[in-house]
Symmetry: C2
Subunit: 404 residues, 2 copies
Amino acid sequence: MRKIDLNNFRVATSETVRDINCRIVLNLVRKHQPISRADLTRHSGLQRSTVSAITEQLLGNRWLREGALGQLPRGRKPTFLHLNEDRAGIVGISLRPTITHLALANLEGRFLAEDSLPTPATPEEFVKQVSQRIRSFTKERPHMAYEGIGVSLPGRADLPGQRFVFAPNLAWKLEDLKARLERATNLPVDLENAANACALSEFWFGGHTEQVRNLVAVTVSEGIGVGLILNGQLVRGAAGLAGEFGHVALTEEGPICSCGNQGCWEVYASNSAALRYYAEAKASPRNKSAHHKKQAELANFEHLLQLAGQGDASALEALDRMANFLGQGLAMLVSGFAPEVIVVVGEVTRMWDRVGPVVSAVVKQRSFTHATTRIMPCGLAPQPRLRGIIAMVLQKHFGAPTIA
Amino acid sequence: MRKIDLNNFRVATSETVRDINCRIVLNLVRKHQPISRADLTRHSGLQRSTVSAITEQLLGNRWLREGALGQLPRGRKPTFLHLNEDRAGIVGISLRPTITHLALANLEGRFLAEDSLPTPATPEEFVKQVSQRIRSFTKERPHMAYEGIGVSLPGRADLPGQRFVFAPNLAWKLEDLKARLERATNLPVDLENAANACALSEFWFGGHTEQVRNLVAVTVSEGIGVGLILNGQLVRGAAGLAGEFGHVALTEEGPICSCGNQGCWEVYASNSAALRYYAEAKASPRNKSAHHKKQAELANFEHLLQLAGQGDASALEALDRMANFLGQGLAMLVSGFAPEVIVVVGEVTRMWDRVGPVVSAVVKQRSFTHATTRIMPCGLAPQPRLRGIIAMVLQKHFGAPTIA
DNA sequence: CGGATATAGTTCGAACCGAAAACTAATTAC
DNA sequence: GTAATTAGTTTTCGGTTCGAACTATATCCG
C-alpha cells in the first residue's frame, strides 16, 4: 500500500482505464506469446469484447502483430498474437572506466547489433564517438523506430534532472551528459547506475517466476555496487543515491577505501581486493623463494581467475578470502531485505563453483533470518549492464502506469 | 516504475477511475482541511462537476462532513469540508514482552481512549483480556463504527496468512493469533512488526513534507529493529522478514547475540548493551573501590538514563559507547538507502541532546554518500507503535489503490 | 436600489470505457 | 447438412470524466 504523493499525482480519466488494461494485455502477451484473444480473456478476466478492442488498438499501434492460426480439437481456430519485437529499437550503452559497450536491442531484449570502444578520455569525445556508432546502427535499419537510449554508469546521476553525475572512477566531469547525448542523437536519453541496471536486467529478463518481487543485484568489479528491487520496483533513495552498501564498513578499522573511509565492504571483497590477497599470499612465509615475490603483482583479475582455474594455490586462497568477505556483505543484505533472490554479477561468477559454496556457507552462518534467499551468479545473459539498461527503457511501456 | 505482477492483478473498470479519484480527494481533504469543493478542484485538477459528484459520494459514505462557510472578499461563500474523524474507530495494540498497550483512535490518528496491561503469560489469556478491554471501548462509544484492529509485534508474522509469528523475546507460541483475536472481537485483525509500525507512524503522522518518500525507522530497546519505507511504501521482503539489520554483524567476532551469531549490531547498540557498558565502566580500573562494583548491575535502562541525566560519569560513558555503535549501524542505513529521514525510536531518544551529536558525528564520518539524510529522534508522538499500527489500518483507505 | 462582477456549486450532454449479451465466423464430428 | 464448439465482433447499457451552460450567493459601486 503506497501513500499518495499529493505533490505529484495524476487524476484518473476514462483513458486511464484503457491505459491500465492495455499494459496488462501487453504484459500477458509478452509472457505467454503466442497467445490468442480468447486466451487473453481467460488470463485477464476482461470481457472478450474488451480484449478485442484493446488488441485492435495495440495492433494499430504496432505493439502487437498477428501470427499463424492455432490448432484446436474443434471450433474456430484462434489467431495468435505476438509482440511486435521490432516495434522499437533501444540503444543501450554501458559506460565503464576503460571500455564502453553499445548494443541495439528489440522489445524482447534481444541484441540486434553490438559494438564497443575504448572509453574516450573526455565527455566531448565520448558523445561524438558514441553518437557516430549509433548513427551507423540506425543507418543499417532505416525502417526501425528508435525508442531511446539508456546509459549504464559507474556512478550515480542526480534524480530529477540527471544533470550531474557522480562517478569517482571516471576521470571526467560528467555534467549534462544526458542533454548532450540527446542533442547529438535526437533521441531521449536516460542514465542509470550499473548495479541498478543489473537488477533490472535480472528482474525483467532473468526468467524468474512471478513470485520474485524483491531482488538484489550485487556487482563485483573494481568496487561493489548494489541494485535494489523491492516491492517489484527499483529503489533509488532520496536523490538516486540508494545502494551504496559497498561502502558500508565491515570492520571498524582496515584498509582505506577510495571513498575516504576505512574497512568498506568493497575494499575487502572487490576484484582489487582479491589481487591484494594474491600478492599477500605470494609474499607469505610459505612462499620463501625470492623470485616468486617478483610475480606477486598480477596485472588484473582475469589473470587471477585463470591461475585459480589452473589450480594455483595462492590464487585459490585469494579467491577464498574474497568469497568469505563477499559472503559477509551478502549476509547483511539477506538479513536486511530477505529478498527472494540475490544475483551476483561480475567476473568472479566464472569461478562460482569454487566461490559459491564459500559464500553460501558464510551467509548461512551470519545472516539472521529464516529467509530462503537464493544467491545465484548472474544468468547466462551477456552484458547484464546493457540488458538492464534496455529493461529500464522498456519499463516505461511494460511497467504499471503511475496512478495517483 | 513497477513491474506488473501477472499472478496477482486486477483489471481496471469504470469504477476504478472513481476509486482512484475518491482517494485523491480524500487525501487532499486530509491534508488541507478545512477545504472547499472549489479548492479541491484547484488542487486536484479535476472538473468542478467531478469534484461535486465525488464529494457527494464521500458525504454519503460519511467519510466527509460539511462544516462552516468560508470567508471570501467577494462571491459566494464556500462550504468547508472536513474529514469525518469519527467515521471509523481503529483499535491499536502494542504487544511487548512485559507490557501491552491498547488505544482507540479516530481517522486522524487521535487517541480517544487508552489502556494497558501487563502482558499475559499465555496467548489464550492475552486474547481474553485484550478482547475484554476492547469491548469496554466499544461499549462506551456505541455509535461509532469499528474499522479493525492492528497489532504491533516484537517479531514478524508470515506474510500471506499471518498464521505464524516469530517473536523470540516472547515466551509464547504465537500460532493463529490473528484468527483467534478476530473470533473473539468480530473485527478484522492485522499484525505488523513494531519497527514497521513505527516507520508507518512517522510516515503518515510525522508531519514530514511530501518530499519524504523514503523513511527508515530504527527502534532501539532490548534489540534493534528497522522498518523500511522506500518509494513511499513499506518494504516487507519475501516473507515479511525484511528489516533485520539489527542482526547484521558489525564485527567478525564479538558478543554472542540471541540470534546465535556474533557481533550483531544490536548486541552493541541496544539498551541491554548500554547496561553492559555501564557495568564495565564501573568495573574499570578507574573505579577502584570494591563497593562500587556491587552497584555495577543496573536494573534497567531507565535507571541508566536517570543516572546519565544526573551527570554520572559511568552512565554517560555507557551512553556514549552505545551512541557510537548506534551511529555505525545508522551509517550503514544511510549508505544503503540514502533516505530523506531516519527516525530513531526508543528510550534513548530522551537523552538525544547527548546521544544525537555522537551519532551524527559517526554517521558523517562513516557513511559514504553525499546524502542529506536527516537523523531525528521520534517526534512528540507518544506510543509510536500504537500510532503506527493505526496508520497501517488507515492505509487501506488512504493509500493508493492497488492497480494492475 | 440595482446592475456589474466575482466566486461557489449544480446540471446536462458528449465522449470514453468495460460488462454483458447477442451475433457472426470458422471448424469438427456425425 | 446439421449440431456442437470455439473464436471473435457488434450492440446496448451503465459508470465515469469533461466541458459548457446554468444557478446561487456575495461584494462593489454608482
